[in-house]
């Protein structure tokens, strides 16, 4: 079986992730940050391990600026709903995933003004178009780092500079890039960065969070939940400091144990090494698929300007049929359809049928690329 659905969730995970999760459940298991006994403190250390690992990966100096939640969607909802009020203006792009688009459409119905900047048919965003969308009342610019449909990378550093010049916060959806592409929150002009634990960070599902850039005043982001934090228990109002302001309720201790191990794996192997590996796979796939008649490849077609996520269609075939054939006849697992990103598919011209998405990861080999190419050749009858 060949797993080419790493953009949905990465698999397999490093062995160290499984070991860390088992060890947490067997040997620690207590509630992080609640009680003062040694197991609770040990659980708290595990959470701090995860925070430090993510902070290091994103070049954030203070690990307390990494706030954990359920996944990228949870973090994006916090960043979007926590900053915008009726009357505010927000700018986003046409490659967004529904985890950004749906909260924004909800808020639009409540009186937030939304501008969706059109990306190119290859999935790229011209920063000039973003700057033209800015207004005096623009509070937030929310932008995907790389498309989950065609992998196109957006120039977040340039877009961030534009957002900040206009006094807006810059939110980046790094669900597809954290762990796969280098990110430096400070240098890339990011104020809020949403990440998910179960893709490029190689951790388990049910982990993710929001990282705060060094200059963001937390009073600009309202918490969406309040409750017990284990700190300031004598007060009935929510603490105002990081990370407790946004971390009510018992943390996913076992999940964060796994996430810490996943991110450590990424740090030890090196993001540049993983990136280089993935660029190689993408280049091989693009070169191969271009030689097959009857297949359309979407996106920019340049491995250096995209992640390891690729979308194709077999001319005249429904993506769902292609996906089923890849699974049943060739043992290749991928994802077909709209990938929770209808706006992106409209942008690249594949709405409403969608595409066949093949997404490579840190553990795929060149052999996996060749197997996919062979399967596709077989399917178009050559």
């Amino acid at each position: 079986m060949i797993y080419l659905d790493n953009a949905a969730t990465s698999w397999p995970k490093p062995e160290a992730v499984l070991e860390a999760m088992t060890a947490f459940m067997r040997d620690i298991g207590a509630n992080p940050g609640r009680s003062g006994h040694r197991l609770s403190v040990e659980a708290g250390r595990t959470v701090l391990d995860a925070r430090e690992a993510v902070a290091e990966l994103l070049s954030i100096r203070d690990p307390m600026r990494v706030v954990f939640g359920l996944n990228a969607t949870d973090a994006l909802n916090l960043a979007i709903r926590g900053t915008l009020r009726p009357g505010d203006h927000v700018v986003t792009g046409s490659m967004e995933h529904n985890s950004v688009m749906r909260p924004l459409r909800d808020l639009e119905a409540e009186g937030v003004e939304l501008t969706v900047v059109q990306a190119s048919p290859e999935g790229f965003m011209d920063p000039v178009d973003v700057s033209e969308a800015m207004r005096p009342g623009t509070r937030l610019v929310a932008m995907i780092h790389a498309s989950n449909v065609v992998g196109s990378l957006l120039s977040i550093r340039d877009i961030g500079a534009i957002a900040r010049d206009a006094g807006a916060l810059f939110l980046v959806d790094a669900a597809q890039t954290a762990g796969c592409c280098p990110i430096d929150v400070g240098r890339d002009n990011v104020d809020l960065l949403a990440f998910t634990g179960h893709k490029g960070l190689l951790g388990p599902q049910g982990t993710g969070g929001l990282a705060f850039g060094p200059d963001v005043d937390v009073s600009r982001v309202r918490p969406l939940r309040s409750g017990g934090t284990g700190s300031r228990s004598e007060h009935e109002v929510q603490p105002d400091f990081l990370p407790d302001r946004y971390e009510s309720g018992t943390m996913n201790g076992v999940g964060l144990a796994g996430l810490a191990a996943g991110v450590r794996y990424v740090l030890e192997r090196g993001v540049d090494d993983i990136r280089g590996h993935e660029v190689g796979l993408v280049r091989r796939f693009i070169d191969g698929v271009r030689g097959i008649e009857g297949i359309d490849l979407y996106g920019g077609g340049d491995a250096r300007r995209q992640t390891a996520t690729l979308s194709i269609n077999l001319r005249g075939e429904a993506p769902s049929d292609v996906g089923l054939a890849l699974d049943e006849d060739h043992d290749i697992l991928c994802r077909v359809g709209l990938h929770c990103a209808p706006a992106a598919h409209r942008t690249i011209g594949t709405f409403p049928d969608g595409t066949v998405r093949l997404s490579f990861g840190a553990f795929n080999s060149r052999g996996a690329v060749d197997a996919a190419l062979d399967a596709l050749r077989g399917m178009v009858g050559r």
Binding site: V41, R45, L48
Partner: protein, 79 residues
């Protein structure tokens, strides 16, 4: 009072939250100091149930380490 074994003079560092206390422990240990996380003594008012116990002779070194890592510590109190 519960009778405890005699120890060298110690103090506790107080933080707003357990996350900060645990980070304080890590910074202190990386700096070579002997510290331990303990439940905050009842008579000290603190926001957080966990405090960091240190040897009084290390108090200046500990302060310097926290400052170097921009770790906010609410107070350091001799026991």
């Amino acid at each position: 009072m519960i009778r405890r074994k005699p120890t060298e003079p110690t103090g506790v560092a107080l933080f707003h939250s357990t996350s900060l206390a645990i980070r304080g422990e890590r910074i202190a240990r990386k700096g070579g100091l002997k510290v331990k996380l303990v439940p905050t003594p009842r008579h000290l008012s603190s926001d957080c149930g966990t405090a960091l116990r240190f040897r009084m002779e290390d108090i200046d070194a500990l302060r310097a380490l926290f400052r170097a890592s921009s770790l906010e510590c609410d107070d350091m109190i001799p026991l």
